[in-house]
Symmetry: C2
Subunit: 343 residues, 2 copies
């Protein structure tokens, strides 16, 4: 699979660099968030403002989008055409899909506007549309030619957004364990500053995982599900934001890893502190009501990332950069969750 | 790019071989054409009958198809799911596209029911939908896992269909020039029998061209446009069937190749006779009215396979298996066409 070029800069890239066949697909709210965004967007030969959110990804809306984009890109050859997608996860998923199928694949550049999109969505090549409310049922594997990480744009988000992304950021650090991961364990930086400083490292770390298993045919990519088994249940049942749910899932997985794969007490304490410090999550359900055992088991089974009915693949951590995949039966997860007060 | 397995058999393949997650996408007319087709189709775990034709490829209809196919494939993992597409070109284009984007790509098997689909569409990995009447504006490169060439199914077509496909078949032979191409020059077989005997060779020959340039970024794949420059104009202006138009286009290209690239008189006569004998086309416009010069030039420019405005890439033939790509200006093509009575 092609590796996307990562370009980290202070300001937005020169629109002319994308050539005469560039179409800017962008979250229309960005013109309000960053003052110079509107003026910048007008320098593109063609523009396609969209309303960000899951509705953008509805397959029902796609024919209309396709018609308009074909028109905007018309007159340019397949090789000259490029979609430049500025926005969060939904804009990247939508724009990436569109670029992957327009004329059987035109150029694609991502300019993520959210920390989560920067870490999580704007690489690895997964594009997605939803079908009748079921998320990501349609999509392609289509890595962008380039991903631009733009400080001015990313820092124009409300600072409250950063903790959400930090859950994903720390997850990648824990399973990767490279020098950057060791540095964040002791870094005095917080929030957006921490993410910005190690953003390229985090993205490259995730790319390394994806490259082993680009089209998810093997199991290696499952290590990216660290924290997601419980996380998905909490997201579905309690409606926790994805980042908070996955932070709780990681805290849960760290506890269990001591018993299951021999995570040392020192490592456990260090990783746990790292998560609590940066995501603001207190471990455990707190004031949340217990999930009925039956509901919990149903939600575990529904997790699309665990296909077989006999159990789930749970990702444990043996140490920094040492994720371990183990099949566990649903009841075992439930037992652990009960011990933590979740059910 | 993945190479599709080619499997040539007398009868239809065992539906059970495709596993429990197979969905048969098929031209509903096939249940009338081949008696055992209906019974065979019922042995699939899930079936999706479609109305073949360009309307099937309309992007506007895709959300509804996607919804139904997601439902039919539901309950099976991505790796278990496979679309088995039985039909002509439109069914293959549509089904191939659907398979390429459902859950970011599930299994795909083609069982072409027409000679043209067998030779032309059911390999090379091009899938396609139409946008607002513009053909193939949306699509992917997604080679099938396997292409089944089934004698009973292909021979259940009206024999009149074969000459249409023979134009494409002979084109591939002329540009490939392998031992099979030499054999068809002197073969006493006619129509469907000739195509069936050399079908695998023709498909493999086309695959070899496609493999050099799987995603059409270079120019090598253009040699498959032999006969298409004039062919497209005749198709657009006179409404000639594609096969007849391309046969005329090849006869035109052969004549011009004598002057331009030194095709010998012997080769010229042999190739010309081969085309006339098998496609039933008489060279030249016959009773067709002359195309106004202006219209002709506009249609030439509109040919999507010739992007630049300065001219077109015309494919000549120096000898068997020796295609030559040359840039020619539009006026030069018009001059030749006028000499042949087309304008």
């Amino acid at each position: 699979m092609k590796r996307s070029r990562l370009i980290q800069t202070e300001g937005l890239p020169d629109p002319e660099a994308f050539g005469p066949g560039a179409v800017l697909v962008y979250d229309r709210r960005l013109t309000r968030g960053l003052r110079r965004f509107a003026a910048w967007s007008r320098r593109f030969p063609a523009r396609y403002p969209v309303q960000a959110g899951e509705a953008l990804k509805a397959v029902d809306a796609f024919p209309e989008h396709a018609r308009k984009l074909v028109k905007l890109a018309g007159g340019f050859s397949r090789r000259e055409s490029v979609l430049v997608c500025a926005g969060g996860g939904s804009v990247g998923d939508f724009g990436g899909f569109a670029a992957s199928v327009l004329r059987r694949g035109i150029g694609l550049v991502h300019i993520p506007s959210t920390w989560l999109a920067a870490i999580d969505s704007a690489h690895g090549g997964k594009t997605a549309l939803n079908v009748a409310g079921a998320k990501n049922q349609i999509g392609t594997f289509y890595p962008a030619d380039a991903v631009h990480l733009v400080k001015n744009l990313l820092f124009s988000q409300p600072p409250a957004r950063a903790p959400e992304a930090l859950s994903e950021f720390i997850k990648v650090a824990l399973i990767d364990g490279g020098p950057w991961a060791k540095r964040i364990l002791t870094s005095s930086l917080r929030g957006a500053d921490l993410v910005w400083t190690h953003l390229k490292s985090a993205i490259r770390a995730k790319m390394r995982v994806v490259e082993v298993d680009p089209e998810e045919t093997g199991g290696h990519r499952q290590i990216l599900n660290f924290g997601h088994t419980l996380g998905h249940v909490l997201e579905a049942h309690h409606g926790l934001p994805h980042g908070s749910a996955v932070a709780q899932g990681q805290l849960f997985a760290l506890d269990w890893s001591r018993i299951k794969v021999g995570l040392t007490d020192d490592d456990h304490a260090a990783f746990r502190d790292l998560l609590i410090r940066h995501t603001g999550q207190k471990p455990g359900p707190g004031a949340l009501p217990r999930i009925p055992r039956r509901t919990f088991l149903t939600l575990l089974g529904r997790d699309k990332k665990s296909v077989a009915l006999t159990g789930v693949t749970f990702v444990f951590l043996k140490g920094l950069g040492r994720p371990v995949r183990r099949r566990v039966i649903h009841e075992e997860v439930a037992e652990q969750a009960a011990a933590h007060g979740w059910i």
